[in-house]
């Protein structure tokens, strides 16, 4: 099986990898690059655990091929904390106990960050609809929503 040589940017760093045509970006991140922060909950685009950004757009990495990342900028959970400190959203998730098992958390954080980039002042309903592509079976979502709204508030005030 001939592999493709892909040149891309992940979390701001230049990265090169070899991948098979059929390998998803999720598989490349996890199995080839050892970036296991991005999780697989379904592999079919239904749970959001694998959320990453591709040129700033929120995508399910299980629905993107590894080769499609060529020349693009990939953003994963591993790139969310900046300069030794947590991102506001990460801090608010901890303060609000917005995770129980935590398997959904990387996906929610990446998705919530892209929400707040698009809409810095979302209503509760807007948050609930934006995050409707991310499944959480533990929390009933309430503390996640509270954390996102609180983070939005703090980021607006900053």
């Amino acid at each position: 099986m001939a592999k493709h040589h892909v040149t891309t940017t992940i979390n701001g760093n230049p990265v090169e990898y070899l991948c098979e045509t059929r390998q998803t970006l999720l598989e490349v991140l996890r199995d080839e690059l050892d970036m296991t922060g991005t999780k697989e909950g379904c592999g079919t685009g239904d749970c959001g655990a694998c959320s990453v950004t591709l040129d700033g757009r929120l995508v399910c990495s299980c629905l993107v091929l590894g080769v499609e990342a060529a020349g693009k900028a990939v953003g994963t959970i591993e790139g969310m904390a900046e300069g030794g400190g947590l991102h506001v959203l990460q801090r608010k998730f901890l303060e609000h106990a917005a995770l129980q098992c935590g398997i959904c958390t990387p996906g929610f954080l990446v998705a919530a960050r892209s929400l707040l980039e698009a809409n810095p002042d979302p209503s509760e309903e807007e948050v609930r609809y934006w995050l409707a592509g991310n499944l959480c079976r533990c929390t009933g979502y309430q503390k996640i929503i509270e954390a996102v709204l609180d983070a939005a508030r703090e980021m607006r005030e900053a």
């Binding site: 999780k39 697989e40 749970c47 929390t139």
Partner: protein
């Protein structure tokens, strides 16, 4: 033995606060390692071939073409595992039959459900392993199948086991059937007592099988060496139990298997059992390489434990004043392909919130061609509560009584006789009902197509075996280690209880989950037992450490240990007579550890009893769209007796999560089978669990009736919240539409059909 502590008067400094959990940062940065996140040099990937048939005899398996594929290292089938004796071992309800277990891990004579593992391949990459699966030839003789529980109990049903004789019936039946076991609980004489009732209602109900729906598929990594020793990284609710089961199926000594607890991405009972661990271990033994297995989501749905679907008949009689005089329940539960549904729990919990003199419950554990049932949050109780709490609602309507008032009138209290045997030893139920009666929203008016429904629930809560180790480090900081998997913040609650006991700040205590070689046995994280039982072990270990520290302070001061007390994290002289010594901190004593006897460490192991049950009462407001049959949850108020919340945020989170699962169970979730017994909705697209936009914010009311048997009054909180929602929602739908739903899920098409037929009638 437990130390009973009355700490009401004592001010708690740490317990009841909401600090950040110790394992939080790795979980928000993506660094925490879950079951699928481990790898080792030289690692192989395994995939499992699954039966496409619901019921089939396996005539032969030919793996030669797969083995010829470059990159394939081994293929195993059921024949690679040693045979296990046919016997039920351990307590009746949780009896394990290794003859069944090894066949569930890998089919032998027959495939008993679509998705049943029949062979597994280890190869150099996932792609090669997947390609090899297609090259394994299995010769099946397809057999007639049965899935529905009533159909499986019919006299002419296809039999899963041709020699299964129902247990629990005297004299034993002579003909085999799919009924694995029958159980009965009786109190008083229910049949006779119905005559004294003013109103009697009998109804039948059905519930669909639903999956726990944890977001992390099962995954593990195994390494078994030629020396017979092995290691396993696995995400489970109990790595000690994983070790015991895996060692048994592989014929290993328990001590030769070291299990590392991966972080667990949700379990809800479904990860108290094993699926992939023995397969990975066997492939590793065969190839000499580490082997990793990750289930796909489809595998999770087709092959791991949903809870039972059920068919039930419940009859309750009341006096005009609301007094319940008699209750009868018959509960028929799907066990799946092997015996062991939670029907006994269903029978025991069904009427447990109430003081009823005459109760008779009967349960049937029925095998059928569907994956074997695994525990799901308060296993069994939500199913029987759906029936019981629905019938109570109908009765409240008949006698014109408020449904909460009806429940309060019959509330079980300390000393109330249960139908399954002992008397209740704890209060807490009536308090949850009263909390809702006082709730301002309970009296709010409702609009068109809206309704309000009430229901209650009971769950035993667990205790049992736990061990904990506490170390005072060289600098006076504290490490505690337990073997209880942290599914939702238990490292935090353990650290908080330790900090409170030792009198040090939370930040001084580091809380870890240790591997099977580093701490004593801990039973699974399940049954809402960890904060209770493992918490007691942690507190006991801290008390031992305090005794040790007092002794060391006495040495330093050269006084009698009885002259030293421990207060606020310091050793102090008990009185002025002992001497005028400045208090010694943990740090000061740790600095003298060498001269006072070496490392400061204590262990405690308990088999904890005295746990109090969980009681919950909830009401919800719904709006039904008469055009589509869609139900919108407008409001959900959940009252629960929590004993005392160690970390209130995580207690609220347990209740919120349980309610959300209950709403999914009530309105959407179900296993849908086609005519060949194949699951049609094995994915999150078609098996739809609630998403954020489906739900409102819930109003959690924590009722606190502390349990005196726990040093901080803890009661288990993880499970009972899932018991009431299905009935509460059905009762609310009834009020909104006048239509009584008796089958779950109350999905839009089913509700619409019911509304239409009510209209036509």
């Amino acid at each position: 033995m437990l130390t009973r502590t009355k700490d009401e008067e004592k001010t708690l400094k740490v317990v009841g606060t909401r600090p950040v959990r110790p394992d939080g940062e790795p979980k928000v940065t993506g660094l925490a390692q879950y079951g699928a996140d481990f790898s080792l040099p030289g690692m192989l990937w395994a995939k499992i071939l699954r039966s496409p048939h619901a019921h089939a005899r396996i005539r032969a398996i030919d793996a030669s073409r797969a083995l010829a594929l470059p990159g394939v290292k081994a293929v195993i089938t059921g024949a690679d595992f040693m045979e296990q004796p046919f016997e039920y071992v351990g307590p009746e309800r949780v009896a394990v039959n290794y003859w069944h277990m090894t066949r569930n891990i890998m089919a032998r004579e027959k495939a008993l459900y679509e998705g049943h593992a029949v062979a597994a391949v280890a190869a150099v990459s996932p792609a090669v392993a997947a390609a090899a699966l297609k090259l394994i030839d299995v010769d099946y003789e397809v057999l007639p199948h049965v899935i529905d529980v009533d159909a499986a109990m019919a006299p002419d049903a296809p039999l899963l086991f041709e020699d299964m004789i129902t247990r629990g019936v005297e004299p034993a039946p002579t003909r085999p059937s799919n009924v694995s076991k029958q159980i009965d609980f009786r109190l008083g004489d229910a049949d006779a007592a119905f005559a004294a009732a003013d109103e009697v209602v009998e109804m039948s109900f059905k519930t669909a099988p639903v999956h726990q729906g944890y977001i992390e598929p099962h995954a593990c990594l195994a390494r078994i060496g030629a020396d017979g020793q092995g290691e396993l990284w696995s995400a489970s609710q109990g790595h000690f139990v994983v070790r015991a089961y895996t060692a048994k199926l592989l014929g290993m000594e328990i001590g030769n298997l070291l299990v590392h607890p991966a972080e667990i991405g949700g379990g809800f009972g479904g990860k108290t059992v094993i699926y992939v661990e023995p397969v990975a271990a066997m492939l590793s033994r065969k190839t000499g390489h580490p082997v990793k297995i990750m289930m796909s989501r489809e595998d999770v749905f087709r092959a791991t434990g949903p809870t039972s679907g059920a068919s039930m008949t419940v009859r309750i009689g009341v006096k005009k004043d609301g007094r319940i005089v008699a209750a009868r329940g018959v509960f028929r539960f799907q066990a799946g392909a092997f015996p062991g549904s939670p029907v006994m729990n269903a029978c025991m919990c069904a009427f447990a919130p109430y003081d009823i003199a005459n109760v008779h419950t009967t349960g049937y554990d029925v095998v059928c061609n569907r994956p074997k049932a695994a525990a799901y949050r308060a296993p069994g109780s939500p199913i029987s509560a759906f029936a019981v709490e629905s019938v109570l609602d109908v009765l409240a309507g008949k006698i014109g009584m408020d449904p909460l008032a009806l429940r309060l009138k019959n509330a079980a209290r300390t000393g109330t006789q249960t139908a399954y045997g002992p008397k209740h030893a704890h209060d807490g139920y009536a308090e949850t009902v009263e909390a809702l009666m006082k709730h301002p929203a309970y009296k709010l008016p409702l609009g068109r197509n809206q309704g309000r429904g009430v229901a209650s629930g009971y769950w035993f809560n667990g205790g049992g075996e736990s061990a904990a180790t506490v170390h005072i480090n060289e600098d006076g900081s504290v490490v505690i280690a337990t073997g209880s998997m942290d599914i939702g913040g238990s490292r935090a609650s353990m650290a908080m209880m330790a900090a409170e006991t030792l009198g040090v700040p939370y930040e001084k205590v580091r809380s870890t989950v240790a591997d099977t070689g580093s701490v004593g046995y801990n039973h699974v994280t399940g049954g809402s037992r960890v904060t209770y039982a493992t918490g007691i072990a942690v507190v006991e270990a801290c008390r031992k450490i305090i005794d040790d520290l007092r002794g060391r302070a006495a040495q330093i001061w050269d006084v009698n240990p009885s002259g030293v007390v421990w207060e606020d994290g310091h050793a102090r002289p008990a009185s002025a007579e002992v001497g005028d010594f400045a208090p010694l901190s943990l740090k000061a004593i740790a600095a003298k550890r060498a001269v006072t006897g070496g490392p400061i460490v204590a262990e405690a192991a308990v088999n904890a009893g005295g746990m109090a049950p969980g009681f919950a009462t909830q009401f919800c407001d719904v709006e039904v769209d008469p055009e589509t049959g869609a139900v919108k949850i407008l409001r959900f108020v959940a009252a629960q007796d929590v004993g005392r919340a160690i970390h209130p945020s995580y207690v609220e989170g347990q209740i919120q999560g349980a309610v959300a699962q209950g709403i999914g169970w009530a309105l959407n979730e179900e296993y849908i089978y086609d005519k060949n017994g194949r699951l049609s909705n094995a994915g999150f697209l078609d098996y739809r669990i609630p998403v954020a936009s489906d739900l409102p914010s819930f109003d959690v009311v924590m009722v606190a009736v502390p349990n005196p048997n726990h040093p901080f009054g803890v009661k288990g909180v993880g499970e009972v919240g899932i018991v009431p929602p299905m009935a509460a929602i059905a009762n609310a739908i009834q009020q909104a539409t006048g239509t009584r739903m008796t089958e779950l899920p109350m999905s839009p098409p089913r509700l619409l059909a019911a509304l239409d037929s009510a209209e036509g009638a």
